[in-house]
Amino acid sequence: MLVSMNWIRDFVNLDGQDIEELISRFTLGVAEVEGIEHKGENIHGVVVGEIISCEPHPDSDHLHVLKVDAGKEVYDVVCGAPNARSGIKTAFALPGARVGEIEIRQAKLRGVISNGMCCSEKELGISDDHSGIMELPADFVNGTDLKTIYPIDDIVFEVDNKSLTNRPDLWGHYGMAREFAALTGRELAPLPVKECDYEGTDEVSIEIRNPELCYRYTSVRVENVKKKESLPEMKIRLYYCGTRAINLLADLTNYLMLELGQPMHAFDGKKISNIIVDTPKEEFRFRTLDSQEREITKDTLMIFNGEEPVAIAGIMGGLDSEITEETDSLLLESANFDGVSIRKSASRLGLRTDASARYEKTLDPEMTMQAVKRFLKLLSEADPGARCTSRITDSYVKKYPELTVSFDKAFVDRYTGIDITSERIHDTLTALGFETKRDGDSFVCKVPSFRATKDISMKADIVEEITRIYGYDNFKITTTHSPLLPAKTTMKRSYDNAVKDLLVKTYGMHEVHTRVWQNADDLRDLGIVPEDNVKLLGFSDDVGILRNTMMQTLLPVVNKNKNYQPDFGVFEIGRVVHGLKEDETADERRMLGIVLYSKQVTEKQLYLKAVEAVDAIVSLLKHSTPSYRKTAPVHTWQHPKNTAEILIAGSVIGRINTLHPSNLVRIAKNAFAVCVEIDMDALLDAKAGVLSFEAPSRFPGIDYDLSLVIPEGMRFEDIQECWMGKEIADLRKVSVIDIYDAGLVKSVTVRFAFGSDERSLTGEEVQGHIDAIIDRLKARRVELKA
């Protein structure tokens, strides 16, 4: 919203104030100012000039050569304006004057010397009219500086509308002026109004059929409006505040809206007989004054003239009842509508207007009457002949309750942490329009109606009023005095950190973030169909289905990066949804997803590297080794043979798999990808091994290595049964020290470390144990390598 300081100064005397500094205090105490413009700053030396002769230019078919009387001197001027003619008065920039970016100097235009320039309104920056030079009233004295006649000089600042969301009172200059009054400690002048001078008994017929959506409707009829154009001062203000002048009546309603924040609508008085405010029974189409046809639904509040719709309440009037050039009578609407209803209608219609933007903020219904009287005052100044032909008619069907808040200084002290005097509390609240009764350090204050619609209702709100005017920069700041007690890192966080560190530092993987919903296009590239899962409301299946596995979003990342490097790994700790729980809420899980990708190693090597990473995670966090159990694929993209569950102490914590060939081939030829998905909460909850210490023996032990040839199709865990859980005396540790894997021929060298705490073992003792192991191996057809 644009705010004119000239306008503010109508209501509060700011003489002697540093306006720029004041505006920065406004930012800190009221709302964010986004920019300041000094209007008229680059307009100098423009005076009233009278064209006393106008001859065609000898060498041009559109230029004229003028003689302009600028009071002290007459100038020869070449001018191209179509309306230049002898006898009119215009805005004349003297030689040496400044008009925007132009400095006026003597110039030769097609061979004729020109001194000075006749200006359009646009050139002076006071409107966007560039159709011709300004035409000034004949009684203006030649040579008078135009700035002394028109308010060309002004400081206009823009306030971020978002920061006014909760301040319906600040959507007009009068409310803004109240803030400036409070900030400077000056008086706020009352708004000049005019009582209705109609003395008959006629009223406007108003019927509010939907009091939930229309709180108040105030109206008056006016006739004999002869003037069509607004006063220049008003037009300049409107223009500076971002509104184009249209005609007197439209300008007045706009001016009122910018001044008081009350949207108004002027109907053509001849076309309206009785106002009915209601939602329609049926849907229908309606042409608004911007000539657009609009679909009106049954929950859109409308203004009817009898049966006929004439305006979308609070948003825009209809074309048929619009003010035109011929209009000389009007029916004025100054109403208050429910903010939520207006917002919804505006958004449904895709039609957000200055009026609807204000209504959305929940305006003060008390304003409507004041606005009508202010309108009458401004109208009488612009067109003294206009007459009211009805009483001001007011249908006020829903009132906000009056709010009072009681508090004492001690509360303010406690909530602010500083000492603000009771005098200051009282003065600030009073300046802001709160009727405040003070008894020592106790206060009872009445919330003014313009702050009571949703903004202020309790003590904490009152504190804000006091402190924002006091100024947060003036606060003495102090630390809290709360006791310090140690905080505990949650296990979730330390697990996340440990896993990330391991994968990044040891395995050189890259952490990525992906979205939580499946993207059908991305999946299609991989030959994967989005899976059915919990959906987002109002989205298509192409982008609106939440992922049920990390792979739905990680595999596309791998696909996009397939040319990044021939060999890389990515991971993400994120959320997936495993359908709905029994209570129909989403079953959200925290998952670790890993994909290893390579064009350099075999799929088996890549798979075993992934297994190693999983083993490392489990070992690091659980002091144990996971086991794996082959399982049928759960998703189409998992390999039928190499999909396995990862288990810790018998409970499944995740899955590992290679890709189905039909999906793999979509990424790249000769490339492999291995997927791991671990449920981080299952990992957290899984039983941990005990980290216990065993002192190394003082006696030398004996290591015995066996190289085993593994029969085709046999898993190492089957061979392990030859020694695991067999209670072999003095067997301290078994480790695999070498693996030879040539596809069909596989062998493993296993080291059996024997040792005793009491004595040195003999070769015979150990040989006995080894023989027993070899017997069991032979029983399983496992041969020793020669």
């Binding site: 003590k459 310090l484 952490e511 809420t585």
Partner: protein, 354 residues
Amino acid sequence: MKERIVELRKRFEDQLGNVADPEKLEELRLSFLSKKGQLQDLMKELSKIPNEQKKEAGQLINTFKQEVQQRFDEKKEELAAAAEKLLIESTESYDESMPAAFPCGSYHPITLVQRELEDIFESMGFDIEDYSEIVSDYDCFEAVNIPKFHPARDMQDTYYLTSKNQLLKSHTSAAQNAILRKYGPALKESGRPIRAVFPGRCFRNEAVDASHDNTFFQMEGVMVDKDISISNLIYFMKTMLSEVFGREVTVRLRPGFFPFVEPGFELDIKCLNCGGKGCPSCGNSGWLELCPCGMIHPNVLKMGGINTDEDPFEYTGFAFGLGLTRLAMMKYGVRDIRVFNDGDLGALSQFISA
């Protein structure tokens, strides 16, 4: 004898001068000093010398023997030094500037910023909490005083699920109620103030461009105790942000409206780039809008089970929200927000710091 020694010395010196490696030196040593060596021969000649000259001759031989031994030692050291010198000279001077290729993974920039902040908050006694991404309508809005029909609740801004009034949380404030309920009992029973931060992923339905994403990270923090004041809030924010930026920051508060705080503020810091003079990174204003904060709204404290209707201000507190994604953009100079969620390893692999 003297002559013999002079002659032998000359021969020794000649031969020693020709020795160039340790093996030859050892041969020479043996030929002079071993039991069959030339000095031993000299000793044998001693018997032929008259007795009165024996003592002197013996001393001469001994002195000569010591001299030879010393010369050998010297030569040995000399050779060793020469050999070492040669070894050093023949060693290649390695080129540290050759590009190193090490297998190095990368952290997501959000992880880096999040860890940094979590460490700071932990050092200030804050608990670090985690919260789900799918939350109820109640947690996200109702419990933080966002009334029904508030624009933030509109479908076009929030990702609702098709089931049971659930949604993807649109701000980390959705966790406030749960945090208050979790730590409230300890506050009331043992006076342990509530100090918690909760980082999390948030979702808002908006068009994605260089500066907007529908998926982003925030970190919210709360502190609740008896007598927490606005003055405390400003002090805390200044201290905390000075830690975050690694230097003293100047903060200023402006009124800001958020339904879950009263009063609510927009907090600006004086631009760290230009020191407040105005530059492109602060839009020439000299200030950077950094984080919303405020005194927790009495309704929020009530719904969180902290206060009752009898005394809605028994406990007071403040809350603040940090945009993790925005901080990461500021910290690393990321101009396009899409880098965070697009998974382009060319971009993300740069974030290798620990």
